[in-house]
Amino acid sequence: MDLSMIILISLIAAPILYFLAKFSHKIAYILFSFIQVFLFVFILLQKGIINTVSSFEIMDGLKLNFGFTPINWYFGSIIMLIISMSAIFMISIKKKSPAKLLLLSLVSTGAIGATLSMDFLTLVIFWELSTWSSLILIVLDKEKSFREAIKYVSVSAIGTYSMLYAVFYILKSFGTVNYLEVADKMKVAPESSKILIFVLFGIMALAKAGSFPLHIWLRGSHSTAPDEFSPILSGALTKIGAYLLFIMVAVIPSSSIFSWLPSIGGITLVNYVLAWLGGISIVVGTVMAIRMEDVKELIAFSTVSNSGYIVLAMALGGTYGTIGGLMHVLNHALASAAMFMSMAAVIHRTGTTKMREMGGLITKMPITFAAYLVAIISVAGIPPMSGFASKWLIYQQLVKNGLPFLAFAAFFGSVGSFMYVFKPLTGVFLGQLKPEHKNVKEAPFTMILPMSILTLLTIFWGILPSNAISFINKIVHYTGGKEIQLTFSRIIALTGQWDSVLVTMAFFVGFIIAFIIFLMGKKARQVDLMDTYTGGEFLYTAELYHFVYKMYRPFDRMFEKWPSMENWLTSLSYKIKELGALLKTLFYPKYPQGYVAVSMLTLLVAFWWLR
C-alpha cells in the first residue's frame, strides 16, 4: 500500500468517525482504535524499508514528500504506538463525544504525516494540523483548561511561525526543502543564514518538546487536557519536537556546519547553548515537579525535565549522546504515557486528581499500580527498567566531553525524579485507603491492556536494552554517525560496560531475599484510616491525615522565592493590550473629525515624503 494512502485513510476516517459517533459512541471508539492499531502495525512492518513518495502539489513546485528511512520509522512507530495504545485506552472512558474522535483522528493524521515527512514543509504542515486539533481537544473537558490552553496556542504559534519562516528562507536560499538536500547545501551556506535557520528551528523544537524557556504551556495543557488525551500529548506529540531536533543535529550535522564557531568541551557553541537550555530545563522541570500537588501537573513537569534530557543529549551529540537521546525518546514516551494512563485510570475510578484525596489504592487497583511503578522506575532511571540505559549513555557522553555543570544538572534531575515520582506513588497507591474509596474497582480491561503492553515493553527493553540500541545503531549508521558496540546482554561504553541481564538477575535475587524476609516477619495489621484521634478530638476529614499533603514542605520553601518564568507570556499579552489601547486613542477616536484629521495628515506627509 502506498504511503500517502495511509495518511489519506487516516484523514478520511476523521469525518466518518464523527458521523458514526453520532449514532454510537462505542462502535466509533472501537473502530477508531482499530484504525490506529492498524496504522501502527503498518508503520512497524516497514522496518528496514527505505522509500519515498511525493504526491499532491501544495504550491507551485512544492509537493508533499513522505518516506521511510530508519529515522522516520523509529519516530513514527513510537508515536503511533502511544496513540494506538491510548486509542484502546479510550474505549472505556466516560466522557465520549463525536468532536473528540474527529479531532483525535486529525491529531493522529498530523502526527503520522509529520514523522513520515521527508521535507521541512511537509513536516510543518502536518505538525500544525496535529497542533490545532490537539488545541481544541484540550479545552473540551475541563473548565480550567481554557486559560491554560491559550498559553499552548501562543507558544506553538511562536514555534510554528518561526519554523515556517525558516522553511521559506531555506526554500528561497537553497531552492529545496528536502532534508538531505538542505543538509548538503547547508555546508556551503553563508554563516549568518546557518545561524538564523538553526535558531528558528531550535525555537520550534524547544516549543513543541516543552523545553526551557518555552516549557510554560506544559503544566496547564497537559494537566487540564482530557485524561485520555494527556498520554498522547505528553508521550507522542512532544516527541515530534525531538524528531526535528534530531534532524537538526544529526541529519544536518550542526557540529560540522558550525565548526567555524569556538567549541567548548568538544562541542560547538551553538550546540553548547542548546545543551545548557536542556540542562536548565532538567533542573526547572524537576524542581517544579517536586512542588506540585496535582498528579497531572507533576507528570507534566516531569515531561519538561525529560525533554531537557533529550535536548541535552542530542545537543551533546557524539556516539553516546545521540544514541542515549534517541533511546530516551522511546523510554520517556513509554513511561509518560503509562504514567498518564495509570493516573487516568485512577481518576476514572475515583474522580479526583488531588493526591491528598486518594491513597491506599494498591489493594484496589494492583495492575494500575504495577504499571505506574514500572513507569516511574524507568523515569527515575533506575535499573532494571529501560530508562536507566538511556540516562547511563547520556552520562557517558557528559563524562567524555568533561562538562561538570551539565553533568550536575543531569544527576540532579535523576535524583530529583526519585522525589517527585515517589510522591504520587505514596499518595495515590500506598498509605491508607480513604473511606469513600472502599468500593473502587480495578480499571476495566481496555484500560489494563494498553498499560500492560507499555509496562511489558519498558521491562523488556530494561532487561535487554541492546535490542533497542541495535535499532538505534541503524539510525545512527544511516546518518553517518558512529555505532555503539553491543553484545546480547552488554552495552560497551567509555567507562565500562553495562550488563543488563546480570543486573536484572541481581535485582531478582534481591527481590526474592526481601520477599522471604517479608514472609518470615510478623504479619502486618491493617488499621483503618479513621481509627485514631488527635489531641482528644476526633477528626472526620480523612484528607488531613494524608502525609502527601505538602510532603516536601522544606524543599518547597527553599524554591518558593525563585524567579518564575511562567508569567512572561501573560505579561506580554497585557503589553499587547496596552499597546492596543494606545493605538485606539491615537487612530480610532470616537468622533469622525479625528479620522479625517489623521487621513489628511497622512496624505500630506506621504506626498512630502514620496515627492
Binding site: 491559550i150 496556542v153 528561497k172 499587547i576 479625517v596 487621513s599
Partner: protein, 476 residues
C-alpha cells in the same frame, strides 16, 4: 454571456422593489440567485473580453471588461452574496422591504465595480455602493449603529471626493477616462502630477478598502450593523473594493513610489489591526479589526505586485470572503441567542449548539491559516511572496499572525467553555445559517485540500498581472 446583466438585473429589480412593497424581498432573492448563475457562466472562459456599452467605442465610451481576475472575483462576490443572504435569512430587520432595495443596489454596484473599464464609471458605482453601504451600516437595532453610519458617511464622502479629484487630475492631464487608455498615457506624465493623482486615489479607495489610516469607520460599522448588513459588508465588499484598488492604483497609475507607500501602509494596517483585535471584548468588534488586518496584508501584497503576490492576495481575498461570511453570520446569530456578543455573554454557547462551534471554528481556522483550510495555502503564498521582496516583511506578518492565532483561539475556546450560567435550553441554529455555513465550510476545506493543479485560475491571475501589457487589462 453578457456581463451587463450582472449590473442591470439587480439594478432593475431594485428600482421595481421600491414600488413592489412585500415583493421586494422576493426580488432580492431572484436577483442574487440569477447573478450567481450568470457569474458561473462567465467564470467558464478565459482571456480578456471587452463589452462596449452604449455604442461608443472605447476610449470614448464606457466598456465592461472581463478578464481572468474579474472572472474569479465575480463568481466569488455573487456566490458569497447569495450565501450571506441565506445565512442571515432568519434575521428580522426593521423595514425589511426597503432594506432589500439597498441590498440589491449594493449587488448591482459591486458587480459594476468589478466589471467597469472606465475611471469615472467606477466612481459612479463606488458612490452607489457607498450609499447602500451607509444604509446597511445604519440597519442595526441600536442607536449606535446610526452614529457609526454617520461617521462612515462623513469619511466616505470625503473619500469619494478625493477619488474624484484624482480622476479629474488624470483626465485633465491625459484627456481620457478609459482605464487602459489612461494607463498607456500616464507613463508620459510628470511624475509629481501622477503621484498627486495617485495619492488622492489611494485616499479615496483606501477608505473603502480599509487601508490605515483611512479605516476609522470600519470597527463601529461592522460591529453594530445588522447581521445581514455586517456579513455582506465584511465578506463581499472587500473583494470588490480591493479589485477596484488593484485596477486603479497598480494597473493605471502604477507608480513605484506609490507601491512602496502601499506596502508600508499595508503592513502598518496589519499590525494595528491585529493588536487592536487582540484586546477586543466584543466578538464582532474583534472580527472587524481582524478584517482590517486582513485587508492590510492583501494591500501589502498588491503593493509588492509580483505574480506570487497576486496569487496570494486573491487567495486571501476569497479566503477572507468565505471566512468572514461564516464568522459574521455566526457572530450575529450568537449575539441574538446570548443577548449580546460580549466575551462573557457568549461563553459556552457553542457547547449548547455544537454547530455554532463548527461554523465559527472553521471560519476562524481558515482566517488564521491552519492546515486543511484555504487560509493555510494562502498563507504559504503570502510568506513566499513577501520573502522575495524583503526578509523583514514576512517576519512582521508572522508575528502578527501569532497574535491573530492567539485571539481567535481564545474566542473558539470561549465558545466551547463549560459554563453553568447558560440556560439549559438548546439554542437551535437557523436552517439557513446551517446550510450556507456548511457550504462555506466545504468551500474553504475544498480549497485547502485540493491539489494545486485544480486551482489553476489563481495562477492565471498571477500570470495576468505579469504579462499585463496595460492595454490588455483595461480592454481597449
Amino acid at each position: 454571456m453578457n456581463p451587463t446583466w450582472l449590473i442591470a438585473l439587480p439594478l432593475g429589480f431594485a428600482f421595481l422593489g421600491i414600488f413592489a412593497g412585500k415583493f421586494s424581498k422576493a426580488f432580492l432573492w431572484i436577483a442574487s440567485l440569477a447573478n450567481a448563475i450568470i457569474s458561473l457562466f462567465i467564470f467558464n472562459g478565459n482571456g480578456v473580453t471587452s463589452y462596449i456599452i452604449g455604442g461608443w467605442i472605447p476610449p470614448y465610451g464606457i466598456n465592461l471588461v472581463v478578464n481572468d481576475m474579474t472572472r474569479v472575483f465575480l463568481l466569488a462576490v455573487n456566490l458569497i452574496f447569495l450565501l450571506a443572504l441565506v445565512a442571515t435569512s432568519a434575521e428580522i430587520l426593521k423595514k425589511d422591504e426597503k432594506m432589500s432595495v439597498a441590498f440589491m443596489l449594493s449587488l448591482a454596484a459591486i458587480n459594476g465595480i468589478l466589471l467597469t473599464g472606465d475611471l469615472f464609471n467606477l466612481f459612479v458605482f463606488l458612490e452607489i455602493s457607498a450609499i447602500s453601504a451607509y444604509i446597511m451600516a445604519a440597519s442595526g437595532k441600536e442607536a449606535i449603529s446610526k452614529f457609526a453610519a454617520l461617521k462612515y458617511l462623513i469619511l466616505g464622502s470625503i473619500a469619494s471626493s478625493f477619488y474624484l479629484l484624482g480622476v479629474i487630475v488624470v483626465y485633465a492631464s491625459t484627456g481620457t477616462l478609459n482605464m487602459a487608455d489612461a494607463a498607456a498615457k500616464v507613463t508620459s506624465l510628470n511624475p509629481n502630477v501622477l503621484l498627486a493623482a495617485g495619492l488622492l486615489m489611494v485616499v479615496g479607495l483606501g477608505v473603502e478598502t480599509k487601508l490605515f489610516p483611512f479605516n476609522g469607520w470600519a470597527p463601529d460599522v461592522y460591529a453594530n450593523a445588522s447581521g445581514r448588513g455586517s456579513t455582506i459588508l465584511a465578506s463581499v465588499f472587500p473583494i470588490a473594493m480591493i479589485s477596484a484598488f488593484i485596477r486603479v492604483i497598480t494597473f493605471v497609475i502604477n507608480s513605484g513610489k506609490l507601491n512602496e507607500l502601499i506596502i508600508v501602509l499595508g503592513i502598518t494596517t496589519a499590525i494595528i489591526g491585529e493588536v487592536l483585535a487582540f484586546s477586543q471584548k466584543r466578538m464582532k468588534k474583534m472580527l472587524a479589526y481582524s478584517s482590517i488586518a486582513q485587508a492590510g496584508v492583501i494591500l501589502m501584497l498588491i503593493g509588492i505586485g509580483s505574480s506570487k503576490a497576486y496569487i496570494g492576495a486573491s487567495m486571501l481575498l476569497l479566503n477572507n470572503g468565505f471566512g468572514k461570511l461564516l464568522l459574521f453570520s455566526v457572530a450575529s446569530q450568537i449575539a441574538l441567542v446570548a443577548g449580546s456578543d460580549h466575551f462573557e455573554n457568549v461563553t459556552g454557547v457553542g457547547r449548547k449548539s455544537p454547530l455554532f462551534t463548527l461554523l465559527f471554528g472553521a471560519g476562524a481556522l481558515t482566517i488564521v491559516g491552519m492546515p486543511l483550510f484555504f487560509g493555510f495555502r494562502s498563507k504559504l503564498y503570502v510568506i513566499s511572496a513577501t520573502m522575495d521582496k524583503s526578509l523583514w516583511i514576512p517576519a512582521v506578518i508572522l508575528i502578527t499572525a501569532a497574535i491573530e492565532v492567539t485571539y481567535y483561539f481564545r474566542w473558539i475556546f470561549n465558545l466551547v467553555k463549560a459554563d453553568a450560567k447558560l440556560s439549559e435550553k438548546r439554542s437551535p441554529v437557523p436552517f439557513g445559517l446551517a446550510l450556507a455555513g456548511l457550504l462555506a465550510v466545504l468551500v474553504v476545506i475544498a480549497f485547502g485540500i485540493v491539489p494545486e493543479a485544480n486551482l489553476d485560475f489563481f495562477n492565471r491571475i498571477g500570470d495576468l498581472s505579469i504579462q499585463l501589457s496595460k492595454t490588455l487589462m483595461g480592454g481597449m
